[in-house]
Symmetry: C3
Subunit: 135 residues, 3 copies
């Protein structure tokens, strides 16, 4: 089965979507299986990261924005603004698709792991994630 998860427009940065994915997994009702997430955009992406200390999230955002800054003279693809090309680059350095096994009816995440949508635009609008769940 494939369902769509719609994430409301969010500010630039990491947004924890674990609970929303987990609730789809529980609806699907498989005791054991695989949950695959796919984000249908090229300027936002997915990662699994630490869900405990917010400073890890802040440092990830700051580090990636320093590696891929706005207003780099290399960019020619700039018609949607200074965050256009950095968003595409950040997206390919992280993940468009992620797969998480399902065990005992739940996502088999490590104790400190959360699933994050990484919004790379300043005003990215609503985002759609297609979720495939199978046994």
């Amino acid at each position: 089965m494939v369902i769509s998860l719609y994430i409301p427009a969010s500010k630039q940065g990491l947004h924890n979507i674990t609970n929303r994915v987990e609730s789809q997994v529980q609806k699907a009702g498989f005791d054991s299986g695989l949950c695959t997430l796919f984000i249908k955009h090229t300027s936002a992406s997915l990662i699994i990261q630490e869900n405990a200390d917010p400073s890890a999230k802040c440092d990830l955002e700051a580090w990636l924005s320093r590696l891929v800054p706005e207003n780099d003279s290399l960019y020619t693809h700039t018609h949607e603004g200074p965050d256009d090309m950095p968003s595409h680059i950040k997206s390919i350095l992280t993940s468009t698709s992620l797969s998480v096994p399902v065990q005992h009816g739940k996502l088999a995440l490590g104790i400190w792991q959360g699933i994050y949508l990484w919004e790379h635009r300043h005003s990215g609008g609503e985002r759609e994630i297609a979720i495939h769940i199978s046994n």
Copy 2:
């Protein structure tokens, strides 16, 4: 089912393979499912990126080649030439495997998304992608 897709030798850079993958998905005939691509090489990789404006593609190529230049004095693995080690590094920063849900018998790609083979060598030869499609 697993099928092999052979991509003829291509010059260094991004090559859109969406149509070739889509045609395998249509042959498989699942209304709903998951299509997973796996590239059987360590000096070429896979990404999902913008399929509209060619300037995005050029900037991605230029940015990654600046981050991972040839002739870096750090490299010791150089016996296949100056593009040998940069190819391996570019490969681990992007994706060896990608999964795309199938909906209504087609890849559930976003409207601006294409699937790309990223050839990191100057003369990489034919590339093989194993494709798994299931419901």
Copy 3:
């Protein structure tokens, strides 16, 4: 089916786990299918890389540690030591999940490909990888 693979505490760097994964695939007994690996940690990750020349492995480790050094003044998340934040960053630049098709009862890896656990901590402890195998 989902099984857990436990990798004993390893020093920082790349560790070839191909044989351990392959043996699970052979136990599963599918002629054709998909094997998905998921590492249940945010300071270690997975990659597919060259399994032949050890110099490629050394250069990958050296390159990534130069890109993401310890003791960067940007980091605020440092309470577990100087390798804490670099581990999270290295993890998001590589892969938390990887999928490899199964053909003829074996992982459909390219001839030079191996599956690696990348330990990013100096003392990371035992690591758990959840493996989903289906046809």
